[in-house]
């Protein structure tokens, strides 16, 4: 345990956590930050927070600074999977346990971090694909799919794409006829969908890597005089409030949840780790999927 190593922040016996966030690039991320902050306050953990503005080097700097500040535990959402060995080794040398959130690192040396809590993006893509397969069971017509990818090169974009592709490739009737990045934003989602609609006369399904792009695409579809959710079926990932509203209204057909609310779980883990208890290497966030009916039911208490 690190609590006895004495640090600047824990003279009062309070646990200090350094949390290096990726940034505030989306509403999802902001909800994630909020969840961590609120859970820390509720759990009586002193939280040192820093925003890396989507830059890995900033995150490394922040972690270094937490080591220098001698916090009790470090948690962070890696911007990318690779390249953490060095700084994690430094943390290990300083006997500060590390918890990964939201996304894994690909280090071979698993002793560098205590545990990883977060979603599985590949699994999300698979869930989206499975729904599609089920939806079109028994039909033999080709299903023309267009895909709005996340930011090129980002892990969620890569994984959600491959998970989805894995599932649908079993059946040749599913054809991805166009796939382009919408950079996770509504504006790009709309712009790209507009072009898709003009270039492809027949689109059956839209798969968007997040709700925002899907919401942008819905506007494009409506402007083209089609009915989203009916003329074109829409699957998205995330389940933020705006997305759930559209789902409840039938404009989206299926949403795979990717929950940002892992604060409470994280704080539990942190306490256990600092106390020296053993924790599982991998903790999945509690996530589900939503159909329009389910969305209507949970919408009133949806927070983010």
């Amino acid at each position: 345990g690190g609590a006895d190593e004495s640090g600047s922040g824990n003279d009062d016996g309070k646990l200090t956590m350094g949390f290096a966030q990726v940034g505030a690039e989306s509403g999802w991320r902001t909800a994630n930050t909020k969840s961590v902050q609120e859970a820390a306050a509720a759990a009586g953990i002193e939280l040192k927070f820093s925003d890396a503005q989507q830059k890995q080097e900033n995150q490394i700097k922040a972690i270094r600074s937490y080591i220098a500040q001698k916090v009790d535990v470090i948690a962070f959402s890696p911007v990318v999977e690779t390249g953490w060995d060095q700084v994690l080794k430094e943390a290990k040398d300083a006997k500060i346990p590390v918890i990964l959130t939201d996304r894994a690192v690909d280090s071979k040396d698993t002793s560098l971090y205590k545990t990883f809590i977060g979603s599985d993006f590949v699994l999300e893509g698979k869930k989206a694909g499975e729904w599609l397969v089920k939806e079109y069971q028994g039909k033999s017509d080709t299903v023309n799919i267009v895909e709005l990818q996340g930011t090129t090169g980002s892990a969620p974009a890569n994984d959600r794409k491959s998970g989805f592709a894995d599932v649908i490739k079993a059946d040749p009737k599913f054809k991805v006829i166009a796939s382009q990045t919408g950079e996770f934003t509504r504006a790009k989602g709309k712009e790209v969908m507009e072009a898709f609609l003009k270039a492809n006369p027949k689109i059956d399904v839209l798969y968007a890597h997040n709700d925002d792009m899907g919401l942008g695409a819905i506007e494009a579809i409506e402007a083209a005089g089609k009915k989203p959710g009916v003329d074109i079926k829409i699957i998205t990932v995330d389940a933020v409030k705006d997305g759930m509203t559209a789902l409840a209204a039938g404009k989206i057909n299926f949403i795979v949840e990717c929950s940002p609310l892992l604060g409470p779980q994280l704080m539990d883990l942190a306490k256990k780790v600092v106390a020296g208890e053993t924790v599982p290497q991998r903790v999945l966030t509690e996530e589900t999927t939503f159909t329009p009916e389910q969305a209507k039911a949970v919408l009133p208490e949806r927070k983010y």
Partner: protein
Amino acid sequence: MIDVGTPGTATAVARVPLSKKRPQKRHIPVLATAALFGLMYLVGVVSYPGFSDTQILLNIFIDNAFLLVVAVGMTFVILTGGIDLSVGAVVALTTMISAVLLRENWPAGAVLPLVLLVGTLLGLAMGCIIHFFEVPPFIATLAGMFLARGLCFVISDASIPITNSTWTGIADVRIWFGGFRITISVVIALVVLLIGAFVLAYTRFGRNVYALGGNQQSAMLMGLPVARTRVAVYTISGFCSALGGVLVSFYMSSGNSLHAQGMELDAIAAVVIGGTVLAGGSGYVFGTVLGVLVLGVIQTLITYADLNSWWTRIFIGALLFAFILLQRVVNRRT
């Protein structure tokens, strides 16, 4: 040498009074920047316990070694009145190529010179397009930026870990002195810095760089090798970006298309904060170092300040503003 002879007694002689000798006048901006950097550091020391640790100062070097190298290259370019927007992308491309080749089990000894060569050639190509085809530097290097980033994505759109033992071995080396540590990267950056400063101050090429920034037309009419110099600065910048990329791959042990996003702006900002004028012709590499350190301290202050995401940005902007305002005031006074 021509002997003009002694002046005739009858000819009146223009006796222009010599301006008062203030040899350091041109160094004042750099000195002012140094002083302000010191002030900023002091603010950190006073506000946050633990900030006074010398290792924090060294960490600024460790964390910014690659930026330093890139900014030195940028200094050359900006001194000629040009600009290089491709540096961040070339850094990323370097990490990407290194990672891929190392994954294919190429020896580190072959990968290193190869990636440096790629960056250098990219710089050379941009320099040629800028000089011989008279494409504005901003646009030529913007295209270079698209190209290099584009190549990254073509190579792979996922990040690639670097596990080569030589590479990680170099990355892991810590040089200890008196209980403090720095990395090899810092040493490399300092060497690049010294070479850069020497070249600019003590070689003909370096002086041609200043002349070009002073007035390109004049430099040409004075018979200076304008083409060679102009192409060379972009080549140097390309090399420095590639070397910076290698240091990044040491720092983050991975190749990633998304590495070093926006680093061009950081480098330009560092150069300008260091007192170099964007129009070219005046400035020093040591100013650039101070610029990098200022950005580094700002970043460090941020991690200590425990700020919300958006306040982080506002705070960075405010610190930058305060710094530049003070810099203006100090320089105007003198």
